[in-house]
Symmetry: C2
DNA sequence: AGTGATAGAGAAAACGTTTTACATGCCCGA
DNA sequence: TCGGGCATGTAAAACGTTTTCTCTATCACT
């Protein structure tokens, strides 16, 4: 039998209103003496307010919904930790949802969230969301932060990394090391990240007066195994290239393996760069040169932002939040002979 | 303005009860005609029942609390995915909590869960839980499945892997390859997993008539960097050994690096085995020989079990569920000369 | 003494469901 | 014709909070 606010009230000899005031630290309406008496009773009885009943009247659950494609991609645990940590610090908890890049799965989770009146949502890689679902979110006025998603609505708050700039930077770096034939290994073709990175690739090619060669572009859906076969196919084309840019580190590992199979030495014969800087990258052989996305910080920032939205502190918030990448130079890129 | 069950009722020209019966698929009490009419109205208006109000009366939230030490350890995303997938399949969602092996943090999360009336909880690595907290969980009758935790209560349901057997198996394997001096790199010293694995190590030593040497035992808290320094210290002792068993794969990577620093070749000069078989293990150089824990399956099993508890289907459930490990033989162990 | 302000407290409504108990109408068998 | 049972439906209570409104006592000021 759970103990309720009514029990506390009668044990303390006050009304439930008073107990409620004490619990919620309302500054006025209760004397110091009463306040202490109520606290004592609460603690003696290990009373925990029923968050559901509370939520029913306040219409908020102190839960943040986190929707991402796949927690198994090593970029996301880091990101999630950033969210979890800051949510906890603000007395929120997070509900973890995997959408798997499947619109109907995402919808199921989004529905769950609205039905449960989550206080806010962090929506990562919202690439496949349907207009209808989006419309619905808007109508329900869900406080949402989009991360690494295409800008679907200029009212929405978006958090990004500057993919464009990041790729240009690495292209120039490769160029400075003598590379001219540079392949591009994309993730999911139409995803926001792949698309913007590809644009950066084209732009850099242009700036560097390197002709674009469609044959050097392949896609690996952000997963290691697919990347491995994509690189095999790339090699089979017999189009020479001295470096390859991979849209995430997992795919870089796939590339490593494809090159190893054919006895192509990294970085002596081929240079490889990745994207993300997952934890393992610095422990690969050779240590992977990659573009660091500040995953944890993005999580933090996302959570802070969504909490600010929830709590109505909107002054300083920008619609477009861009975090910096950093080129982590390690051992997988060599000067070209 | 959110639309409620009352609106639907009046739009459909029936009572609230009838609408409720339709939503919840109660077989009786409403004619086929009415049922269809109500559904139509519901869909036309995109009505979503308020899960909080529902929870208030049903006292359940369709949320499963997942408490684990650190989502950043690559074992857990896999595990979490197993939970998420099966939870979703049963119309539950999961709330992700990181305890960080800190009793007070864990308590905060557990409190959140009870206040929100989560339907059940999966508690992984409950090594640091205080008696008081445990008592409280028991009193609130939380449906809990403990995973990889010491058996704290023979009423509780526990899911494990047979650590004992796993380590014995790998010890015998190393023995068969000629190893006699085998070091042990533990995780957190008093944790359930480390303790049981250490027992297995001792047992195997005994069976194989190898004298135990305390100097060959070090601890790395399950984290790569600490493992690296632990192995450095181990090497500094100048006590010869030809193989090392690491209590997880991350620490095996730390060991790899410590050996690399000193130009000790794996597996020619030293054999290394890990535990977990995280995704990256097969992509390391050399590919890591390790004991596979079926992380995803454990997640699945945990979720299935807790859902069975929630829904009162307790017949077939064993108090102690043990899943099999598998020795993944790859390239990091060599015959000793 | 009278007035108003203020601090402390409580009663009751509201939140949106599910569930229990009851009502109505109809059919069927005796 | 009556009564029993079933199908369909409704009214109202209950869930445990927060919040609004109201009341009372006290105090300060004229």
């Amino acid at each position: 039998m759970k103990i309720t606010i009514t029990d506390i009230a009668s044990l303390a000899g006050v009304s439930i209103t008073t107990v409620s005031r004490v619990i919620n630290n309302k500054s006025k309406g209760v004397s110091e003496t009463t306040r202490q008496k109520v606290w004592r009773v609460i603690e003696e009885n290990n009373y925990q307010p029923n968050a559901i009943a509370r939520g029913l009247v306040t219409k908020s659950s102190k839960i943040i919904g986190l929707l991402l494609p796949d927690i198994t991609n090593p970029y996301y645990p880091q990101f999630s930790k950033g969210i979890e940590d800051t949510a906890t610090r603000h007395n929120y908890n997070v509900i973890l949802c995997e959408g798997g890049n499947d619109p109907s799965k995402e919808k199921v989770h989004l529905d769950f969230m609205t039905e449960h009146y989550v206080s806010g949502v962090v929506y990562s890689n919202a690439d496949v969301i349907s207009d209808e679902t989006l419309e619905q979110m808007k109508k329900k006025e869900m406080k949402t932060v989009f991360v690494d998603s295409k800008i679907i609505d200029d009212q929405a708050i978006n958090i990004h990394v500057d993919n464009h700039k990041a790729i240009e930077e690495v292209m120039h770096y490769l160029y400075s090391r003598g590379h001219r034939k540079i392949a591009f290994l994309g993730g999911i073709k139409d995803s926001y990240s792949t698309a913007t990175r590809f644009e950066g690739y084209l732009k850099a090619l242009d700036d560097l007066f390197i002709p674009f060669d469609q044959r050097l572009v392949v896609y690996g859906d952000f997963v290691l195994e697919k990347a491995r076969v994509a690189v095999r196919q790339l090699l089979d084309k017999q189009v020479p290239f001295s470096a390859i840019i991979c849209c995430n580190d997992m795919m870089a590992v796939g590339a490593y393996e494809a090159f190893n199979e054919r006895q192509i030495k990294i970085p002596e014969q081929i240079s490889v760069v990745g994207f993300d800087d997952i934890y393992m990258s610095k422990h690969l052989t050779p240590r992977l040169t990659t573009i660091k996305q500040p995953a944890y910080e993005m999580g933090q920032k996302s959570a802070e932002t969504v909490i600010a939205m929830i709590e109505g502190r909107l002054e300083g918030i920008k619609k477009n939040i861009i975090l910096d990448t950093e080129l982590m130079i390690r051992d997988s890129v060599a000067d070209i002979q």
